[in-house]
């Protein structure tokens, strides 16, 4: 573990941004955006992770001191929210991709250029 997992998460972020910037196909761009989303969710979960930590649930009879060894629940709640936002966004993106295909007959961004710079 250690820093390696952070490096991997950062790598995931870079892969996602590469796909958004360099790919021409709309579907690949959407996948790239999802990878960026996952990388950041992953980072959030990592921030709350504690090695060997348990679930942050306070059971009657358990002391509050035991809670300090559990994982941080707040980032998990944030990730849950972030996933829901991602779901809405993905639905909108895919719907828009379908409509774009209907209008232009292609998924190639370089051929979808009716607007002047």
């Amino acid at each position: 573990m250690g820093t390696a997992i952070y490096v991997l998460t950062f790598g995931l972020l870079v892969v996602g941004i590469y796909a958004v910037v360099a790919k021409k196909n709309i579907i690949k761009i959407i996948v790239g955006l999802l990878i960026v989303d996952y990388a950041i969710n992953m980072l959030l979960v990592l921030m709350g992770y504690r090695n060997g930590g348990g679930a942050p649930i306070l059971v009657p009879g358990e002391s509050q001191a035991q809670m300090t060894s559990s994982v941080d629940p707040l980032p998990q709640a944030m990730v849950l929210t972030s996933i829901v936002i991602g779901l809405g966004l993905t639905a909108l993106m895919v719907a828009m991709a379908v409509r774009l295909y209907e209008k232009y007959g292609t998924f190639d961004m370089s051929r979808i250029r009716r607007l002047r710079g």
């Binding site: 959030l44 980032p75 828009m96």
Partner: protein, 538 residues
């Protein structure tokens, strides 16, 4: 949602016995009313109804737009009412930091200024939409998305913690993506998709910045992050700041993050263009940028330089791209980039003065100029976008070269359009003149005479560009089919007149406006990291 009964809120209530409590009770309505109505409209419109004779639209769907207008008007009344009061810190659902982690709403001078701006422009846009949206089907869907966007923007300016800020930025952004694509034509979809891709990347960076700040401080509440950050003191703070500033600058369409704006804003229906250019880039871009840089990180030299560079470059590049445009709405969109550059430049200059421990009065003047220009830009840019929509509706074109002689055919629209053009061009006595003048004086006093000169140059270019609009659209001989156009419907005229009055009154009533609206907002930014108070912990 009820305001919490925690010690801090009770203290505030004790100081203002009946007024304080009442104020705190109405603040969440700014978000709850439009959010609830947005969902209610969808439910109402989907109710099974008997087929009405003549195939007319069912009542549930017809009621959507008037309902939205009433909600927005109520919101404007609430936000104006809030101006007079003093609102203590509020905690949603009674969870306060004293017990555990709580979600806080802040309603200070800056939030109040933004709330008034948002709801004013929203009211004008929704009145305008009544006549304009006749060309579209499913107006109820438009009303619902419009209210969702307004609710999210109100929530952004009231958010007291970083994660809530992010969530509502996203809600506002998703509603705006759908609204840009509302017409579902090829160009609109293309613009909306570009906007969506760049907007999502921006949001991802904002969340990245929030995540890093959380890992450094273990807090999301802005006030607590601000008070804990100096202890964190590592280069990770810079990484978080870079991610947040990049993401928020993308939302504010600062050059070099501006590519989506000139496509997205003109492609939307006119009332939405007015909302996007008028308030969305301010609420989710400039406001959030100012809040985070001034009140969370604290104004220091590095952030001030970044803001000033972003502002100055946007100001110059935006206006040069605008001058060559012949599409009316596209021209206005490029001017939005340029005018937002003024605001960010003024904020950056104020941060620089504060960072080097200069005179607070000079920083205050820069902030007043910036915030005043932000308010003015909301008024005149939405006025111009609405009048472009009214011209487009009546003439069927957006190309300046195909218009002409509209001042005789459409007197009300032309008069209001002229007020907007003179305001943005900085002609006295309109509001744009005063805010630009104050920014230029502020920059000079802050020790940046070159940037002040640049601001004057950009103001002249803006004037040039709007003389072109006057010359081709309103004056001259009418082109072919234009000769037969008539004045736009009355509801459009009312919306235009409302904003034109704000433009004229903004310039004339600068003194009282400064006292009640801009001075409290500037004070919040002047106080830097300590503005939100560290007293949230018991």
């Amino acid at each position: 949602m009820t305001p919490g009964r925690d010690p801090a809120a009770r203290r505030a209530a004790d100081r203002w016995p009946e007024k304080g409590m009442q104020m705190e009770a109405i603040v969440p309505l700014l978000v709850v009313l439009p959010l609830g109505a947005a969902f209610a409209i969808v439910v109402l419109a989907s109710l099974p109804t008997r087929r009405e004779p003549g195939g007319s639209v069912p009542l549930g769907q017809r009621a959507a737009l008037p309902l939205a207008a009433i909600i927005v008007a109520a919101n404007l009344a609430i936000s104006v009412r809030l101006l007079g009061g003093d609102v203590g810190p509020m905690f949603i659902g009674g969870w306060s930091p004293g017990k555990t982690l709580g979600i806080q709403m802040i309603c200070d001078g800056l939030s109040k200024l933004m709330a008034v701006t948002i709801n004013l422009v929203a009211l004008a846009s929704i009145i305008f939409a009544k006549a304009y949206m006749r060309r579209f089907t499913k107006v109820w869907l438009f009303s619902s998305l419009f209210l969702l966007m307004t609710a999210a923007m109100n929530a952004v300016v009231l958010a007291g913690d970083l994660f809530n800020l992010f969530v509502f930025l996203e809600v506002a952004a998703i509603a705006s993506y759908a609204l840009v694509a509302f017409g579902c034509e090829a160009e609109e979809l293309e613009a909306a998709f570009k906007y969506l891709v760049l907007g999502t990347v921006g949001s991802a960076f904002i969340l990245l910045g929030v995540a890093i700040l959380y890992s450094l401080t273990g807090q999301l509440n802005m006030a607590m992050v601000a008070s804990l950050l100096p202890k964190a003191g590592s280069s990770a703070v810079l990484l978080a700041a870079a991610a947040l500033i990049a993401g928020l600058a993308l939302k504010a369409a600062m050059v070099p993050f501006h590519a989506w704006l000139p496509d997205a804003h003109p492609s939307a229906p006119a009332p939405i263009s007015a909302m996007l250019s008028g308030v969305l880039i301010k609420a989710s871009g400039v406001y959030a940028l100012a809040r985070v840089v001034f009140n969370v990180f604290g104004p220091t030299g590095a952030y001030a330089t970044v803001l000033m560079v972003l502002g100055a470059v946007s100001m110059v590049v935006g206006v040069f791209l605008a001058v060559g445009q012949w599409d009316f709405k596209r021209l206005l969109a490029y001017h939005s980039i340029s005018q937002m550059g003024y605001v960010v430049l003024a904020l950056g200059a104020a941060a620089a003065v504060l960072a080097r421990g200069g005179e607070r009065a000079v920083a205050g003047l820069c902030l007043f100029g910036g915030l005043f220009h932000l308010f003015n830009h909301a008024a005149f840019k939405s006025l111009l976008f609405l009048s472009s929509g009214s011209i487009e509706q009546q003439t069927g074109t957006r190309q300046l070269k195909e218009m002409g002689g509209l001042s005789r055919r459409m007197p009300v629209t032309s008069f209001c359009c002229r007020v907007g053009a003179l305001s943005i061009a900085g002609v006295p006595p309109f509001n744009g003149f005063f805010s630009k003048l104050i920014i230029i004086i502020g920059l000079t006093l802050a020790g940046y005479p070159l940037l002040a000169a640049l601001a004057v140059l950009v103001a002249l270019m803006t004037l040039l560009s709007f003389i072109k609009v006057q010359r081709y659209a309103l004056e001259g001989p009418p082109q072919g089919s234009i000769a037969a156009v008539t004045e736009a419907p009355a509801s459009m005229g009312i919306a235009l007149a409302l904003l034109a009055i704000v433009c004229i009154a903004g310039g004339l009533a600068m003194g009282p406006l400064r006292e009640h609206l801009f001075a409290p907002a500037g004070e919040i930014l002047l106080n830097g990291r300590f503005a939100l108070g560290t007293g949230v912990l018991p």
